[in-house]
């Protein structure tokens, strides 16, 4: 290690030798940095899960454009849209097809007392091509009364509970006073507001939710003619549809707007974003404490070096060297512990906790930066001091 670092820095790796000399402090410091990394990783993981589960439902639909109520920030909030908008939209040149989308949450209370909230999507059984391929493939039989497709990843269910579901061996359950037969399963997974998904036809949707009207869907999904940029059609639709009651955007943009709403305006997003910030601050404080103590402990030696003719860049170099070593050494256990924690949280919450390379690299670079800043602050004490005053 010393030889490698000597070659790398072109001088004795004093930072490394100093750290390695005091093993107890090194271990404590690495643990501290690792812990800060863990904090940031967990917050980022939960934030990532929030982001992932926010945009995931949008990917359930094969549509180009979405028409929603102006007061709708997410798929489920806001007013309904008049079905009449669908006919107005279909009259716009370039719009190929359209269908209304109904969404509501269904509470599924089981006999053992447990319950799950199912985000229920109602779509015309003739309009299966507006659904993701795997859902569309099983969608046709849903035209029959009270047939549904259920989410096999629904939180609260024992894993594998729905593995045997098929059109011949339906899974029968009761919800909202109706007996539903699940003739197939899809894999969607829960989010922060629902535990799983349920697909039904628009007819079944009306039966399940008696207060909903076929003339007032939550959103309207549109497909554009092949070869036309959806943005162009969005502009045309905006000219036609009343801006005071509906908004029009591509499904992609609608998902992005929902995400930005969740992370900047909803408490959950803000809390986890704040958690990341706190993690970073805790990390900087830990590293600063370690480096500042180290500088204070070696002040006499540094003063001697200063008397021998070493300048400020040399001392900054030592502390940066220590900072980089701590950042890298702390990152590895921090990352490993986080992976373990992610796996545990995923099991416990059913949320998709994903460690991406991007996030890992970002955290490593952030750690290096935080360590370097702490190091620069820690050496301030040496600047401009007469060597004689340091003794």
């Amino acid at each position: 290690m010393t030889a490698v670092l000597t070659w790398f820095f072109g001088r004795l790796p004093i930072g490394w030798l100093q750290l390695a000399h005091n093993r107890t402090r090194l271990i404590a410091a690495v643990a501290g940095v690792g812990f800060a990394n863990l904090l940031v990783f967990v917050q980022l993981g939960i934030l990532g899960a929030l982001n992932g589960t926010t945009v995931a439902p949008y990917a359930l639909f094969e549509a180009d454009i979405m028409v929603s109520s102006v007061d709708a920030n997410t798929l489920t909030d806001g007013s309904n849209v008049a079905r009449q908008r669908l006919f107005q939209a279909l009259a716009v040149p370039g719009v190929a097809d359209g269908t209304p989308l109904f969404i509501a949450n269904l509470t599924w209370q089981r006999e053992d007392g447990t319950f799950s909230t199912l985000q229920t999507f109602g779509v015309d059984s003739e309009a299966a091509d507006f659904l993701r391929e795997d859902v569309a493939a099983r969608f046709a039989p849903l035209g029959l009364e009270d047939r549904v497709l259920i989410d096999r990843s629904t939180r609260g269910l024992a894993s594998g509970a729905l593995d045997d579901v098929s059109p011949h061996t339906p899974f029968v359950f009761e919800a909202n006073d109706r007996t539903l037969s699940a003739i197939g399963t899809v894999d969607v997974g829960g989010g922060f507001s629902a535990d799983g998904a349920l697909f039904v036809s628009d007819q079944t949707f009306m039966r399940l939710f008696g207060n909903r009207s076929p003339s007032a869907p939550n959103h309207i999904l549109l497909k554009v003619d092949e070869g036309i940029d959806p943005i162009v059609i969005v502009d045309r639709l905006r000219d036609v549809l009343p801006a005071e009651s509906v908004k029009v955007d591509t499904v992609e943009n609608a998902a992005a707007a929902d995400l930005s709403y969740q992370t900047t305006e909803r408490p959950t997003g803000i809390i986890f974003g704040f958690g990341v910030l706190i993690g970073v601050l805790v990390g900087i404080v830990i590293v600063y404490q370690i480096l500042a103590t180290d500088v204070a402990d070696h002040l006499k030696e540094y003063a001697t070096f200063k008397a021998m003719g070493y300048g400020q860049p040399f001392f900054l170099g030592i502390v940066f060297e220590e900072a980089i070593i701590l950042a890298v050494f702390g990152f590895v256990p921090g990352l490993l512990a986080s992976l373990g924690l992610y796996a545990g949280l995923e099991v416990a919450t059913g949320l998709p906790m994903e460690m991406t390379v991007d996030v890992a690299i970002m955290v490593l670079l952030g750690t290096l930066l935080a360590c370097a800043i702490s190091g620069a602050i820690a050496t301030r004490r040496l600047v401009g001091a007469d060597p004689a005053d340091l003794f």
């Binding site: 000597t6 004795l12 100093q18 000399h21 006499k300 030696e301 200063k306 008397a307 003719g309 070493y310």
Partner: protein, 235 residues
């Protein structure tokens, strides 16, 4: 001494005054000190505690800003010198301190190497060899890779001497180098310093109140209350 030798002397101090503290607490510590040190000599600064001898040494050695008067060090006036120039000048000097001030995480050889790396790292194998050679000269050939914690007080101070001498400095400043040592090892450290200095033509300026080593000095300057009270040449 005349002006010509003044100009070529390694250290020439003229009308040096120095104050410590600020405002009402400001107190003059050095009063009109004038000294010219001859090249290759061993000069001892003596005096009771608080006489200002260490202050004079650090002012001469470019370790403290000169406030009033002139200090010419190796042809450079230190009064008003920039930090960058000061750093360059310090690299031509050797310092030995009262405490050895070795870096606890570095071996004897690595500590001595620090005296060379300050000039840049051009040929590391050669630098290591030079460091080992100087350690052998001070009698530590069998302790090259020891950490300071495993060396005795005298051995540590000898490593500090080796560190100060390894880059062949023109002047060595030593501040009570024997204070932490017993009589025998103290004397042997100074004898070694003097012998190596004579071989290399190094000028040595040492602060001490250790009477045991006075006999080795070429010149003894005594300070009291910040003023020179006697200046004797020996030999």
């Amino acid at each position: 001494m005349d002006d010509l030798s003044n100009a070529t002397a390694p250290v020439a101090v003229k009308g040096l005054n120095h104050w410590f503290g600020k405002g009402d607490a400001r107190k003059q510590a050095i009063w009109d000190v004038n000294v010219t040190v001859a090249k290759g000599s061993l000069t001892v600064l003596m005096g009771p505690s608080g006489s200002g001898k260490t202050t004079v040494l650090t002012l001469m050695g470019c370790l403290r800003d000169v406030q009033d008067g002139g200090v010419r060090l190796l042809g450079h006036e230190l009064n008003g010198i920039s930090e960058a120039q000061a750093v360059m000048l310090r690299r031509q000097l050797g310092f030995i301190f009262q405490a050895h001030n070795l870096h606890e995480s570095l071996t004897a050889t690595q500590n001595v190497l620090m005296g060379l790396e300050v000039h840049g790292r051009h040929n590391s194998a050669q630098q290591v060899q030079a460091a080992r050679h100087v350690l052998q000269l001070v009698g530590l050939g069998d302790r090259l890779d020891y950490l300071p914690a495993n060396l005795s007080g005298g051995q540590k101070q000898r490593v500090a001497v080796a560190r100060a001498l390894v880059s062949n400095p023109k002047i060595v400043f030593a501040d009570e180098p024997t204070a932490a040592l017993d009589k025998d090892s103290g004397k042997s450290v100074v004898e070694m310093l003097k012998a190596l200095g004579q071989q290399r033509g190094t000028t040595t300026i040492m602060v001490t109140h250790d009477n045991r080593i006075l006999e080795l000095a070429d010149r003894i300057i005594t300070l009291e209350d910040g003023r020179i009270v006697s200046d004797e040449h020996q030999h």
